[in-house]
């Protein structure tokens, strides 16, 4: 069979192939799209690495003896230490990319000009990933994870009404030997379900591609070459974390086994959860903490309507950009304040930084965008 006959044969049996080939060969893409447009593809790649390494971990993981089985994976399983550090560093890369994607979306106002769906999809993806990341951290069976899980399950028991019912269903009651078996399933299911969100986000992004302009180019070889550069840089950073800082941003106290009779002296969460952990202090009580976290994510969902300017995406004033950079520094500072030893100063700083977060979205964003639109 010559190549043309092969093409006809495969196109008859699998028409999508012809569509994809035609799309890759048609010059339909704008030139000089920025490298950071490759972030969603890199996030998808990281999710695939996490799913593959997670599958290996799940084969050996025993939720009834979580700490011992993680030790078994790291010490006894062939190359288990490598797979485990890929999973942990993959998480770091994933949340790095997700936070960068959110930051860029806010800075360039990518949620404007019918970009709302892409933005809502991105925030939904980030929210589901944060929940999945917290569940995965619980599975480590370490002292910090154990303390966090006890606090979450015990406070969920006290909630009244529907939230209490939902939390009871989620955790299956107060922290006990079976809790992690349940959370392991939820972690895996959410980790796979997140690919559905990735697909949705991809569809929404394709509707938002920039106009091809006067001299459009094909996807291959122009953008495949660009994606390859982005991939190698991403892989290089990933290798630096996986091989030289596999415990980046993790509380060392989590290397000790969970013990219900010992509260870790400083139970700070891993870095990607630190801003959420810090923002809990603005409202009193456990329920207040949950409401504060939901409000933090809810404000991101509401951003397309908090922005009062009707200017299209990629157009924002100097003051607005400055404020978004300050917001990014504020979120980083929130994380650092959460990682401090518990003290009065740390709590005051957390409250100040958290209030600035809400002030930025509820007051500064509508005000500055309305002013700059004039």
């Amino acid at each position: 069979m010559d190549i043309e006959a092969q093409k006809a044969w495969s196109d008859r049996g699998w028409p999508d192939l012809a569509v994809w080939r035609a799309r890759a060969e048609t010059p339909s893409l704008a030139r000089e799209q920025p490298y950071l447009d490759t972030l969603p593809a890199l996030i998808t790649g990281t999710l695939l690495v996490l799913a593959a390494s997670g599958l290996v971990l799940a084969v050996y993981y025993n939720p009834w003896a979580p700490y011992a089985s993680v030790q078994f994976i790291k010490r006894e399983v062939n190359s288990g230490w490598l797979i485990q550090s890929f999973h942990q560093s993959g998480t770091t890369m994933l949340f790095g990319a997700v936070y960068l994607l959110l930051f860029r979306g806010i800075l360039l106002r990518l949620y404007k000009g019918s970009g709302e769906f892409v933005w809502l999809g991105t925030v939904a993806l980030a929210s589901v990933l944060l929940l999945t990341g917290w569940l995965g951290y619980m599975l480590s069976g370490g002292a910090v994870a154990g303390a966090s899980l006890r606090q979450a399950t015990l406070s969920a028991e006290t909630w009244p009404g529907l939230p209490g019912l939902l939390a009871s269903w989620f955790f299956g009651g107060p922290h006990g030997p079976g809790t992690l078996a349940r959370l392991a399933v939820l972690h895996a299911v959410l980790g796979v379900a997140v690919f559905a969100l990735v697909l949705l986000l991809r569809t929404a992004r394709k509707a938002m591609l920039p106009a091809p302009g006067a001299h459009p180019v094909t996807f291959h070889p122009y953008y495949t070459a660009q994606y390859f550069v982005a991939f190698t840089i991403f892989a290089l950073i990933f290798a630096l974390f996986a091989f030289f800082a596999p415990h980046f941003g993790d509380n060392p106290l989590n290397a000790a086994p969970a013990n219900p009779l010992i509260m870790p002296i400083n139970p700070t969460p891993p870095w990607f959860l630190a801003p959420l952990s810090a923002i809990r202090v603005v409202l009193p009580g456990d329920a207040g903490g949950v409401i504060a976290v939901l409000a933090m994510l809810g404000l991101l969902f509401a951003l397309p309507w908090l922005d009062r300017s009707s200017a299209p995406a990629h157009r924002s004033g100097f003051l607005y950009r400055l404020l978004v950079v300050v917001l990014a520094l504020d979120v980083i500072a929130l994380g650092f304040a959460a990682a401090c030893r518990p003290s009065v100063t740390a709590v005051i700083l957390q409250i100040v930084f958290a209030l600035w977060y809400f002030f930025h979205f509820l007051v500064l964003t509508p005000l500055v965008t309305a002013l700059e639109a004039k």
């Binding site: 030790q71 230490w81 490598l82 122009y222 060392p252 290397a255 000790a256």
Partner: protein, 235 residues
């Protein structure tokens, strides 16, 4: 470009072989090469540290994560590891058995339980240095400090009061390699051993890592050159 790639191929095993070469524990100031970016374990130090653990610490502290066969990774032969296992246990022992777990009565140390040492070095930032300071930090109780009953003053322990009696005297072991025993030497050796026990794959990880990073740097440059060339040919 080809010359660059050749240089990289030549340099990667060279660089990787430098990693264990620079590993030497120094005492003043206490410095643990495994805690630096590219350092590794000095196996002679790890073996001396194991001797200190086995002679002094093992009577109260378990090391549950290790099997006797793991000793082959720090340079002992299977026969030597088998001999160590037989000496430590009264009953017949195989290399597949975990390290013997000592029995400590609950009232022994004012109710404090000696912790398992498997991951102790990973539980603090710069764990080996923490262990070193704890072991060398015993001192006379400062004036104005009242200790709890059965406790000892230790400047290296958070809170300053520890239920563990000073474990090292400075002449607890005789090193086969001729290194002079002293309290700081024994403390540094056992800290290095516990660092290895907490992260036995560190050397392998860093050796693979150096190769992977060098490969990816050149792949990166190659990808960038390809991309620029392809885009320069657009009409």
């Amino acid at each position: 470009m080809r010359r660059l790639l050749l240089t990289a191929l030549l340099a990667s095993p060279l660089l990787a072989s430098f990693v264990p070469a620079q590993a030497e524990t120094t005492l003043s100031p206490p410095h643990f090469p495994s805690q630096s970016l590219l350092g590794g374990y000095d196996l002679a130090t790890v073996q001396r540290g194991f001797l200190v653990y086995q002679t002094v610490c093992a009577s109260c502290h378990s090391l549950n994560a290790l099997h006797y066969r793991d000793l082959e990774a720090i340079g002992f032969t299977a026969e030597q590891a088998g001999g160590i296992a037989a000496l430590a246990n009264e009953k017949p022992t195989s290399l597949e058995d975990r390290f013997k777990s000592p029995h400590v009565t609950s009232s022994a140390f004012s109710g404090a339980t000696p912790p398992d040492l498997s991951n102790l070095a990973a539980e603090r930032p710069n764990g080996p240095l923490y262990i070193y300071h704890l072991l060398t930090g015993y001192a006379a109780t400062p004036a104005g400090t009242t200790l709890l009953p059965g406790h000892f003053y230790d400047s290296g322990f958070p809170g300053g009061q520890i239920a563990m009696p000073p474990p090292l005297k400075g002449h607890d072991v005789a090193y086969a390699d001729g290194v002079t025993t002293s309290l700081p030497q024994e403390a540094a050796d056992v800290s290095t051993f516990l660092a290895w026990a907490a992260d036995p794959n560190l050397d392998a990880r860093r050796q693979v890592g150096v190769r992977a990073v060098l490969f990816l740097i050149f792949l990166c440059l190659l990808a960038l050159a390809t991309k620029r060339r392809i885009w320069s040919e657009t009409v």
